[in-house]
Amino acid sequence: MLSTYNRRKFTDVFVRSACVVAAVIALIPLISVLYYVTARGIGGINLDFFTELPKPVGEAGGGMANAIVGTLKLVLLACAIGIPPGVLAGVYLAEFGHSRFGKLVRFSADVMSGVPSITVGIFVYSLVVLQTKQFSALAGGIALAVLMLPTVTRTTEELLKLVPESLREAALGLGLPKWRATLRVMLRTAAPGIATGVMLAVARVAGETAPLLFTAFNNRFWSSGLNEPTASLPVNIYTYAVSPYEEWHRQAWAAALVLLLLVLLLNVSARLLVRNRVGAR
């Protein structure tokens, strides 16, 4: 009796501590990235970093205001282009996904989410940049939107499927046409979850570098409108980090920190958004 009890207790302690150790190991890279980026980047952050354009090599100071705005611009563009078709495609899959075509769409979305981001960059390069004969914010936005699309589609589908079928019945029983039941009850009920999924997809593409290299390209100055090449934080980090200048390295670290905080902000706000919605229930 007692020995069985002791053995169980030992197993319990052993497995539990193994889990704790594994969790700590998983946290190490995350914490060290956060720590290292903050430690190296904090020195380069000052007001100028957010308000000034880059200075020519050799001159001290300067900032990345254009790249910060550029990243925001690209992300907004990607949202505007990527979210509506993604959500609607998700609704299609959830409602009519049993057809052959539905299966094809789902399969394509799954394959697409595994396509390397550089490939998407080349695709948009040949589709948009070569046709318009210029690098542009628009091309960058499209590239990011293409990257977001599968995630948004599948998230929307999965979350719609989680909405209890009884709510659809309730809506149809009240004499709602199917489209209204879908949009105003099913989609509405799934909305907080879809919002989180979308925000996470946005946060992911906000840090993408590869697809921007030959779509949005880069710009040392302000870019106006959507038809000019534009600077962005990830591309700037890459450019500055591979340069031989000490000052640029410092700024690359600062840019990395700003980008990290931006993504963190998106993540946290997505979670808060959902928590508030649920709390209001």
Partner: protein, 289 residues
């Protein structure tokens, strides 16, 4: 017409002594001027067949639903009773692969006629489901108004509609101070009454209830049953129930279904005291089912 004193069979009514006091009184008037041969039908089915894919679930049901009376549909699991009521407002066809043939008349109109819009039928024939299903994103108030609002209607005085409907389902006093809270925060019985209010807000002529109490505790069940007593003054009600005591307590008429067929349809007291069919008697005395 003479009114027989209601003496319901011992095995079925024994357990319900709690509700007897209330129902006995109500049931004295329950049999006035009702008879299965002379009833005024609000709805009528003629040779109604229903299918899920290849499986035939209803095998030719012809049944009259009395106007402003409660009709209970009883029978063992899988006998098609839920499918039957879902055919009465064309909710059956919502399930993929499900279809129905035959006639279902609402007043004089065949709701399965090609020109009839199922969506319009459902506004005239409301439905309450087995599990309470208030919309989780809406407050109590908005749940009552949901049917109107989601259909694009703007009531002149929404607050009056909310109060009237919640009064009608006897929920007003319990929730009048928390109308802004989520409907899903209420107890199961309150949620079910909220769902009934939501259906009634559309002013349906017929109310279908698919085992409305099977997810509720006895006290909540008693409240909903009292409510059904009230509602039958204004609405035609069809209630599916597993629970024979419930049928005996709330229904004027009872239809017994077995294996997709209508075995017997008569006044509830007749079904429970002197059924004509052997199978009905076997079922209500608990010999199978």
């Amino acid at each position: 017409m003479t009114t027989p004193a209601l003496t319901l069979p011992k095995p079925t009514m024994k357990k319900t002594s709690r509700a007897d006091g209330a129902t006995e009184e109500a049931s004295k008037s329950r049999w006035d001027e009702v008879s299965v041969s002379t009833l005024v039908p609000k709805m009528r089915t003629e040779g109604l067949h229903a299918y899920f894919g290849q499986a035939e679930v209803l095998k030719g049901i012809s049944l009259k639903i009395a106007e402003k009376q409660v009709t209970a549909v009883i029978g063992p699991s899988g006998c098609g009773k839920s499918t039957f009521v879902r055919c009465l407002n064309r909710m059956h066809e919502v399930v993929p692969g499900a279809r129905a043939t035959g006639q279902v008349l609402l007043d004089t109109q065949d709701i399965y006629h090609g020109d009839v819009d199922a969506v319009r039928v459902r506004r005239r024939v409301g439905m309450v489901f087995q599990k309470p299903n208030p919309f989780p994103t809406m407050s109590i108030r908005d749940n009552v108004l949901a049917g109107l609002r989601l259909n694009g209607e703007r009531p002149d005085d929404p607050d009056a509609v909310v109060e009237k409907m919640l009064q009608r389902v006897a929920l007003w006093d319990e929730v009048k101070d928390i109308l802004g809270r989520a409907g899903t925060g209420l107890s199961g019985g309150q949620q079910q009454r909220l769902c009934i209010a939501r259906s009634l807000a559309l002013e349906p002529e017929v109310l279908l209830m698919d085992e409305p109490c099977s997810a509720l505790d006895p006290i909540a069940t008693a409240r909903v049953e009292e409510l059904i007593h009230e509602l039958r003054k204004s609405y035609t009600i069809v209630i599916v129930t597993h629970n024979m005591q419930q049928a005996a307590r709330v229904a004027n008429f009872t239809a017994f279904f077995y294996l997709g067929k209508l075995i017997e349809h008569d006044r509830t007291d007749v079904i429970f005291t002197r059924p004509k069919e052997q199978r009905t008697e076997d079922y209500i005395t608990g010999r199978f089912g």
